[in-house]
Symmetry: C3
Subunit: 160 residues, 3 copies
């Protein structure tokens, strides 16, 4: 029997539109029976952070400063333009109007169809984050590059 | 006989420099006998839109607002900096001066060497676009994720 | 015997955070015995330029203007925000504080573990650069798309 097809996404970006693309690709691929892993790193970690007020999680002033830059899932910027945060809201509105799932729904759908979510050890070290700063669906095993390469071996790897 | 090698590019970006990279990779790979598919999504759709005045295609105010953000092929920004649109013009000028193909020529060359162009169903829904908003060389079959994964199966997938 | 696993990174971006991601992925993969190639193109060429004052290498005014936009390794911007160049410095500081290797160290480590560095012929033509503008560890063979596709064949290709 052929092994199950595999897709692994390195989700580096924290931009609203790229996160929509990442989770659409992830959930759509899992729906056609791919094994899908998302490895969140740097700004991408925002997508799976617990909502906690203004999402200033992480220890220390610098971590908070980066936390501020990073924003959190309810406050992710659009990669192209961001007039006072209007564009992501507008895009969410248009997605709603056109009956396309919102980012929050895409994340929930991805989890529901079995997409596995992993966090990047080094990014968490830099940003002073722990596994408890993320939503509970995130895999407890924090990955380094070697482990990610092992998990994603035999499938495609995409950097978003 | 070995099956033909395959490369599929998810072209998400609408930035001038990234489009140059995408079409250079696409045409160059097709020239050495790769089967090449480009799947245009979000801002990437700009690259293959019909020229139509200021490219305000799509229905409704919001679609037009996004159309404005998106710009169209003659008005794509450079990813790094964009002083009043000087940089893409400058880059086109330098490409011309150094005898490198311009973006328009790279797109034409890609089509000439058999690169297949596909559009993303969901992005078109969000942006209120139809297949008629694109140049005629674009494949009439609009793809969802499942179909894209099927078409690109057995080859490399790259997100730009 | 199974052939050695291979990873090829098209390093298009010159953003500090993306370069950190690229070299972390490269060095980490080489450390677990992957053959790793990085193909530097456009802004990515910055990462491997020789330090030379303000890095205005390349011939002619336009090349110098792009050289200014491009900046050079000591002056690469952060992809998200860049307050007077504070963010890359801050990130370097946090990396140092948390005992994570700095970008310079990541590049050195990548070279030490055998990551091969290649430059893109077309980008160099556009920008008026020659192989002598780069650090000596860069492979003397400048690659076009066809040659890059040949070298990276049989492994994964990632665009950063």
């Amino acid at each position: 029997m052929e092994p199950r097809k595999k897709l692994s996404i390195i989700c580096f970006s924290g931009d609203f539109d790229k996160l929509v693309a990442a989770f659409t690709l992830a959930s759509g691929s899992a729906a056609v029976n791919y094994e899908v892993n998302i490895f969140f790193t740097f700004w991408g970690l925002n997508a799976i952070k617990k909502k906690k007020g203004r999402v200033f999680t992480g220890k220390g002033f610098l971590a908070r400063f980066f936390g501020f830059l990073m924003g959190g899932i309810d406050n992710v910027p659009l990669s192209r333009l961001n007039f006072c945060n209007i564009s992501p809201k507008l895009m969410n509105y248009m997605m709603r109007k056109r009956n396309v799932a919102s980012l929050k729904e895409l994340i929930d759908a991805s989890i529901a169809v079995g997409v596995k979510l992993y966090t990047c050890e080094m990014s968490m070290q830099i940003l002073g984050l722990t596994i408890n700063d993320f939503i509970p669906e995130v895999n407890k095993e924090v990955l380094g590059v070697a482990k990610f390469m092992e998990i994603s071996q035999g499938g495609d790897r995409i950097f978003i």
